[in-house]
Symmetry: C2
Subunit: 195 residues, 2 copies
DNA sequence: GCGAGAAACTTGTCAATGTCAAGATTCGGT
DNA sequence: ACCGAATCTTGACATTGACAAGTTTCTCGC
């Protein structure tokens, strides 16, 4: 069984996981289908059979990402009723799966009409926002409150992954998220004012 | 009379502006140096003389972006003392210059050792955060408050540009920013804070 | 006003990439 | 065992980023 078989066996999964690894290590710009094929040990045209093209591969990765995000979110909701924990889980997911996170929010790289992508995204959104907030979706104040929470953790995750945060932010994203999110919906120290 | 001269005259600026246009229209993935050269009417190797390579071109675009962000921020600070206006200016900049914004926070695409880039980024940061907040940088609460504001507007801008926001968010980013940012530093539903 | 050197731009070339087409090998059901 | 289908390979082509070397224009000292 050590001889490389004609059929890889699980090429689709191997390519997806290798794609995530390459993006994390070298960035999405240096991602090459032929290089991926080389790493996995198949010919340069093999990926095309599982994913139509590069866009298809990234779309599949994004679908996997939304599934993972839904799982992270559901797990956090089980552990606690606090909505804050869902936000922490959002950042935790982004840091644990940076390649997935990067691809999920780049429509230009994806096949946005893909049925799996649409379904996975919708499912992730349903897991993220509590049922109550969805029922009160018409309420403008409730909507902007949800958007504020989303924007805060999304921005924090993006800035963290880009290495844009100052040194004082520390080295634990989870702790940072709790500290930063405390300023939402809660009276805290007065806002920084211009001198 | 309009015979193309050997020297373009302002090739560097023309390439930068065309780069921004292409990114806005087709996404950064489809950006090609040769295509840019074709659009501007020069040979395929001309860009290399102004920008070492593709990374150099994008780095120059990021520098331009940080300069623009600094200008937006300074203008907002002149109009009002309210720190909220700086956040609104942040989103306004991102929506007005989406290509610049996209490139500025992608270290994988840039030459992060570039002196101009480092200087422009630092200057933009100085314009964004009020002097008072910087002096009190050691204060943890003040730091997280600033990060909360930054993360909120950054995340909101990113989600807006990605088209990730729900329909209920409206079509005016500035109005949305004010509505969403109102949940920061404002007493609302009490929330247990740990940090 | 002129000549040398630098700057701006061109042409030519090369390896690498994404994608398509066509052939080879293996799998699965009957 | 057999046949269609799924999986993978080889081959080919246009396009790209980057490099090298040549050509045209500008600049500046004299």
């Amino acid at each position: 069984m050590t001889r490389a078989p004609y059929h890889h066996g699980d090429l689709r999964r191997a390519l997806l996981s290798e794609t995530a690894k390459v993006i994390e290590e070298s960035g999405i710009a240096h991602l090459s289908l032929r290089d991926l094929a080389r790493r996995v040990g198949v010919s340069h045209a093999a990926p095309a059979h599982h994913f139509r093209d590069k866009t298809g591969l990234l779309t599949a990765l994004a679908v996997e990402g939304f599934d993972l995000l839904a799982a992270f979110s559901a797990a956090a909701r089980e552990d606690s009723d606090d909505f804050l924990e869902v936000g922490v889980a959002y950042v935790r997911f982004a840091v644990a799966h940076p390649a997935h996170f990067e691809v999920m929010f780049r429509p230009g790289l994806l096949d946005n009409d893909d049925a799996d992508l649409i379904a996975a995204r919708q499912m992730a959104r349903a897991r993220l926002f509590p049922p109550a907030a969805q029922a009160a979706g018409e309420d403008s104040a409730s909507l902007t409150a949800g958007l504020a929470a989303w924007a805060l953790v999304h921005g924090l995750a993006a800035l963290w992954l880009n290495g844009a945060l100052p040194d004082g932010a520390g080295d634990d994203p989870e702790t940072l998220t709790r500290a930063v999110a405390a300023h939402l919906f809660a009276r805290s120290n007065p806002q920084p004012s211009s001198g």
